[in-house]
């Protein structure tokens, strides 16, 4: 398939200095975590799971320019779907994951159709309400969700008799899945479909004037984001082996938004970078003991005040604009 067209396809990742440093840093980090083992492995596992969630969120917020504060609802559908199907019905983990994604996608379609007419604060609030409703249902509908107790004993990922039990192997598997997720999102982004989404984000009137059906594209992006969220919910269930309503609560909204913000909304690698950095941040401030959460919130606020468009935008200040032309440098 090495047609000339492929070579002229715009590179998905810009190989400027900062990106290279970032990728090297990530590699070193992974090697270190791998060697060190222990608790850091769990931290990185969670970072990858949240990363999958953020890739989807980035699709909806970054590329399409719409705010959703309720993606945790779809993560809950994924998590509970997997848990119920695996624990109660002994379904294959992979099959359970896919089934839950289908359910989440249909839910997003049904919910998104009326909701996406709203904009700005109202869309944010309506989606926020969706997340909270899902949380309350997961607490209250005890016959289905076992309430606050949650589900334990969810089997790890695997196919047939082969299951991934080793923590290091789990991390490798999650990392590969997250990278596949990123790759898919890149393929979608760099296409007629992705261009239309980014056009909507740039200017809705401009997009409409060129014949783009805005509501339909927003809805598709919302469903895609829900599929990612659902997948990450399922992965959480399989990796940790236990879920409860708290996992998919308000905490998840704040954490994932922080990640996306730190990594840079609308950037390519932002969701994954943000997920790693923001997962490590609490570990760094952990040394402050009982001031840990205060430090976390204070750092977040300082970043929001001084770099309101994300840390990626700070990097932009040091980036020469000419570097945006990789073809001529190659």
């Amino acid at each position: 398939m090495t047609s000339p067209a492929i070579t002229s396809t715009r590179p998905t990742i810009k190989f400027d200095r900062i990106s290279v440093i970032l990728w090297i840093g990530a590699a070193v980090l992974f090697a270190g975590v791998f060697a060190y083992g222990g608790y850091l492995i769990t931290v990185m596992q969670l970072a990858m799971i949240y990363g999958v969630f953020c890739i989807g969120l980035n699709f909806f917020m970054g590329y399409t320019g719409q705010a959703s504060f309720g993606q945790n609802a779809f993560a809950a559908i994924g998590g509970y779907g997997t848990a119920i199907l695996c624990v109660q019905y002994n379904m294959e983990p992979v099959l359970a994951l896919v089934t839950s994604m289908v359910v989440a996608g249909v839910a997003a379609l049904v919910v998104g159709y009326p909701t996406l007419r709203l904009r700005g604060h109202y869309l944010a609030m309506a989606t926020f309400a969706l997340g909270l409703i899902t949380y309350d249902i997961s607490v209250q509908w005890t016959s289905l969700t076992q309430g606050y107790m949650g589900y334990a004993g969810i089997p790890p990922l695997g196919i047939g008799s082969y299951t991934i039990e080793d923590e290091r192997m789990k991390l490798v598997c999650l990392t590969v899945l997250a990278l596949i997720g990123l790759w898919i999102s890149q393929r979608l982004r760099n296409s007629r479909f992705g261009r239309a989404l980014r056009a909507i984000s740039g200017s809705e009137p401009g997009a409409a004037a060129l014949g783009i059906k805005i509501s339909r594209y927003k809805l598709i992006a919302f469903v895609i984001a829900a599929l990612y969220a659902s997948a990450s919910g399922s992965l959480f269930a399989h990796t940790v082996g236990f879920i409860s309503p708290e996992v998919f609560g308000l905490h998840m909204v704040v954490v994932t938004f922080t990640m996306l913000y730190v990594g840079g909304v609308g950037t390519i690698a932002g969701p994954l970078v943000g997920a790693i950095v923001a997962s490590l941040l609490p570990e760094i401030v952990r040394s402050t003991g009982r001031f840990q959460d205060v430090a976390y919130a204070a750092i977040l606020l300082l970043m929001l005040i001084f770099a309101p468009k994300g840390l990626y935008a700070v990097g932009d200040l040091f980036r020469s604009r000419k570097v945006d032309k990789p073809e001529t440098r190659a």
Binding site: M1, P4, A5, L188, S191, R192, S203, A208, I212, R321
Partner: protein, 257 residues
């Protein structure tokens, strides 16, 4: 042949009449201009034609299709493409990508083709990129094609918006005050581009307050004042028209002239 046919088009906002019984026939292939002082209702008129504002009364017919109160994307799909007074570029996309979006109506493909990429996908992408390059050449922006669109100076943004609209291969191109905020050289460059577009067979309907530009390039001019059409004719007829001079320079002009 008449490409755009407007009959008794009227728009009321809360009792205020913005457009009143406007009739207009834009012949295919022409370069037609609508002018009028600030607040005359030009943009309202435009927004109704392009489907961005529902009309209160009247009909709009484009290429034989009734497009009154049709949604914007359907009107665009028929080949009626507009630009905006406040340029609506896609922020965060490069100059070339902006034009590539313009090809939306003339291409196909959704999620599945983006994911699985059959061979036509690559062929189409190549065509889209070539088309974008061609159009950027045409408006003179090829050197900036990889830049972020929001970094362009104002005059070039207008040109980019025009290239983007052309990518949709419009039958009728609506330009909303394309010279607003441009300096003299930029206006001249723009005038040339508009004339070239028209010469290549695209019908152009232009809203403009820059009389100098309009009288130079338009073949026919309609004048709006207080939401009504007060005159229509060739540039020379319009320049001499007492009502037009009055509308632009004020009511007492008629006495002084």
């Amino acid at each position: 042949m008449t490409l755009l046919k407007v009959r008794n088009l009227t728009k009321r906002f809360d009792g205020l009449i913005a457009n009143k019984d406007i009739n207009l026939d834009v012949p295919e292939g022409s370069l037609f201009a609508v002018i009028g002082p600030n607040g005359a209702g030009k943009t309202t008129f435009f927004s109704m034609i392009s489907g961005f504002l529902p009309s209160t009364a009247g009909t709009i017919e484009f290429d034989g299709h009734d497009i009154t109160r049709k949604p914007q994307d359907q009107i665009a799909a028929l080949g009626l493409i507009r630009t905006f007074q406040l340029v609506q570029l896609f922020k965060g996309m490069s100059v070339a990508e902006n034009v590539e979006v313009g090809c939306h109506l003339r291409t196909k493909g959704g999620v599945a083709s983006a994911l699985f990429r059959p061979s036509w996908f690559y062929q189409q992408e190549t065509e889209v990129r070539d088309r974008a390059r061609e159009l950027l050449d045409f408006v003179g922006l090829s050197a900036q094609s990889e830049q972020d669109a929001d970094l362009l100076p104002y005059g070039q943004r207008r040109l980019l918006e025009m290239a983007r609209a052309l990518a949709a291969k419009p039958r009728l191109l609506l330009l909303d005050e394309p010279a607003a905020g441009l300096n003299t050289q930029e206006t001249d460059a723009l005038a040339l581009v508009i004339q070239k577009i028209n010469a290549q067979g695209t019908t152009v309907l232009l809203i403009e307050h820059d009389m100098a530009l309009v009288t130079r390039i338009a073949q026919r001019i309609a004048v709006l004042d207080f939401g009504r059409k007060i005159a229509e004719g060739t540039p020379d007829e319009i320049k001499q028209h007492p009502d037009v001079i009055a509308a632009y320079l004020g009511v007492e002009e008629a006495e002084h002239a």
